[in-house]
Amino acid sequence: MKPPAFSYHDPATLAEAVALVATLDNARVLSGGQSLMPMLNMRYVLPDHLIDLRRISELAHIRQSGGDIEIGGMTRQRDIEYSDLIAAKLPLLHEAIHWVGHRQTRNRGTIGGSLCHLDPAAEMVATVVAFDATLIAQGPSGVREIAASDWTLGYMTPSLAPDEILTGVRFTPWPDGHGAAFVEFARRHGDFAIASAAAMLTADGAGRITRAVLTIGGVGPAPVRLTEAEQGLVGQLANETAFAAAARHAAAIEAIGDALVPAEYRAHLAGVMAKRALAKAWSRIDGKGKLAA
């Protein structure tokens, strides 16, 4: 289980890196390596070139710009996990990151790497979709911004041109006091989720939902935002009936099945996770009304 032969490039600047991806054939970009390295060791991928972004320090940052928070593509998951800014402003991301792999893989793994690898169960992808965050790519002709809803073209296929590099992602935080929850079910701690759900809610003083987001990961070929369910929630009194109605949308996702996990089970779990994420998000709203009976 040893990697195949390849040429290794470690450009010092983003411009060099973009020039390399634009010119080299059969190249793969290496960021944290926590998905690419196993695939190399197992020879599931056979690139002629690896372009390692590790030296491009401008790609590793967490910063506030205006009301938004921008995270560089090479930011390690651990730095997100331990960021006070993220914990305060993006509680959904803060919670989601704890579900990503294990401490050793979060120390190396990057947010950009996860977004580009695009595993259907990736917590980072589900979170970005939940926020409808903006992904920022750099190509030879400049910067391109991609809405999270446009990021996924298909199973493990991001909307990234062969000559582009994902440089970062921009989140617009929800108002202080919103409720957020990321829940998932996996066979063991740190495994990819069979199903995950990300929810964010705001409410008025009367216990009525004013804004809702619900995203399901692991079930379809990519995380999905359940806009119909969200629309159904807004204006409702928050209660188990409302959450259950939203969860039915989750359970209706056309689920992928394989030798290890039957599709029906994934779909069923999607519903369960949705319900739980909504209830948990609700419980975390500051100054909300009581859960209506």
């Binding site: 289980m1 040893k2 990697p3 195949p4 032969a5 390849f6 040429s7 290794y8 470690d10 290496l30 390596g33 926590q34 390295m37 196993p38 060791n41 197992m42 690896l50 390692d52 590790r54 651990r78 792999g101 294990h102 401490r103 050793q104 893989t105 120390n107 190396r108 063991r188 701690h189 740190g190």
Partner: protein, 170 residues
């Protein structure tokens, strides 16, 4: 002799600087083990699940099978061979965590041990007073087929307690 594209890199491992020409496709574990002769870091899966290959890179635990050696150029690395010297010298020549592994029978065949020790060293730095649950989560990415984890968890909790008591103001 090298059989493919190679690079000269410098690694500081357990305080010693090594400069070596390595093939770019070699992962860090192979270079530690076979180029530097530091065979205490083990390979149990080479696909990033078992954790036996865990080392500390600039103080952070990482799987050395999931990292090319060239990516570690310039890094400070601590392997199991260097743990005894952390915050040392220690009486008996072993780090308190190593002593606790012996006392609480935190190892049997010893194959997972390098990854357990390095991971727990990092945990105890991040969190000097972990709960049992936190210890278990910290090593949830390290598989052990021998111990059932209980001796390892007990060793970590006892070490945390001893270190806290040792550093507590009198």
């Amino acid at each position: 002799m090298s059989w493919g594209e190679s690079r000269t890199i410098t690694l500081t491992v357990n305080g010693t600087s090594y400069t070596r020409e390595v093939e770019v496709r070699f992962h860090l574990a192979d270079v530690l083990r076979h180029e530097l002769g530091l065979t205490g870091t083990h390979l149990g899966c080479e696909h990033g699940v078992c954790g036996a290959c865990t080392v500390l890179i600039n103080g952070r635990s990482a799987r050395s099978c999931l990292m090319l050696a060239v990516q570690a150029d310039g890094a400070e690395i601590t392997t199991i061979e260097g743990i005894a010297d952390i915050d040392g010298p220690h009486a008996g020549g072993l780090h308190p965590l190593q002593e606790a592994f012996r006392e609480f029978h935190g190892l049997q065949c010893g194959f997972c041990t390098p990854g357990m020790l390095t991971t727990l060293i990092e945990l105890l730095r991040d969190n000097p007073a972990p709960t049992e649950e936190e210890v278990r989560i910290a090593i949830s990415g390290n598989l052990c087929r021998c111990t059932g984890y209980q001796g390892i968890v007990d060793a970590a909790l006892a070490t945390a307690k001893n270190l806290r008591e040792a550093t507590a103001p009198a």
